[in-house]
């Protein structure tokens, strides 16, 4: 597979197929990320289109100091933010909410009931067709900022440094949001497995 940098060099030279290859590679990611900033798929699509337009216009100015992916996501976040105030699609969640409900612990802070390990066959169950949509649903239900961070870090695989650059947040802030988001997803996953019967 050609690297982003190789494709980008061809885009600069006016190569249409290289541009389409980049679009194919990242459009779904952009769409998902955009959707966390705006209230509808239609508006998200506009933001994504606008982002690609920003790419072709800015391709000669891109100096490669960051990765293409980070640069691309930054363009998207900037466009999404100028498109309008983020609409609150979800009830705000207490940012200090614990990773695990306090009633799972006894008075000394130890687990009140054993934590059941997810057996190795769990992995097969998790990737069962019904799981992907469930995890996406849980991701979608996260508070906006937690979702941004989890999507960029764990779905897109950006480094924490790049996530901070894209979202313009501090390292510490990023870690707190990541922790809340991941903890929430784990809890959803646990509930799902319990519902299915271990």
């Amino acid at each position: 597979m050609e690297s982003d940098a190789e494709l980008l060099a061809r885009v600069r030279a006016g190569d249409e197929t290289a541009f389409l290859a980049l679009v194919t590679r990242y459009n779904g990611s952009l769409q998902r990320l955009a959707r966390t900033f705006v209230a509808s798929d239609a508006v998200a699509e506009e933001v994504v289109q606008d982002t690609w337009f920003g790419v072709v216009r800015g391709v000669d100015r891109f100096e490669g100091r960051s990765s293409f992916k980070t640069w691309l996501f930054r363009i998207l976040v900037n466009r999404a933010r100028t498109t309008g105030v983020r609409e609150h699609r979800h009830v705000p969640v207490d940012p200090t909410a614990p990773a695990v409900s306090p009633d799972r612990f006894d008075g000394s802070g130890a687990w009140a009931q054993p934590v059941v390990p997810w057996e190795s066959d769990v992995d097969d169950r998790l990737v069962a067709a019904s799981w992907g949509p469930r995890l996406l649903q849980a991701l979608d239900a996260l508070p906006d900022r937690q979702r941004d961070v989890v999507v960029l870090r764990d779905v897109e695989g950006l480094s924490s440094e790049d996530v901070c650059a894209v979202l313009e947040i501090t390292e510490g802030n990023q870690r707190v949001l990541l922790h809340r988001g991941r903890s929430r997803l784990r809890a959803e996953l646990e509930a799902e497995l319990e519902a299915r019967g271990r």
Binding site: G14, N27, A99, P117, W118, L136, V155, L189
Partner: protein, 89 residues
């Protein structure tokens, strides 16, 4: 081990679950990392919890974005051509 015998700086499970991300991110101080690992070694419940978090993270990483629709391909090809024409002017 009674509570009285427990070293004052031992972590309890409820604290451990709040440190899991910092641990996985390598963001704990050396001292805190040692306390964390000491607890994990002695606590099967928190070991299971840590593993659950790892699985959660890797499953999240397996989510893939949707494919590009044929309509979108056409749209983006047009967008690119329009830009090329602009540049050519």
């Amino acid at each position: 081990m009674t509570v009285l015998q427990r070293r004052r700086d031992e972590l309890v499970c409820q604290q451990v679950v709040e440190l899991v991300s910092d641990y996985l991110e390598g963001a704990l101080t050396r001292r805190d990392r040692r306390r964390f690992e000491r607890h994990i070694r002695a606590c099967p419940n928190c070991t299971a919890y840590l593993e659950q978090m790892r699985i959660t993270i890797s499953e999240t990483g397996r989510l893939t974005p949707g494919d590009l629709s044929p309509e979108a391909r056409v749209e983006f090809t047009e967008l690119f051509r329009a830009w090329r024409e602009d540049v050519g002017d």
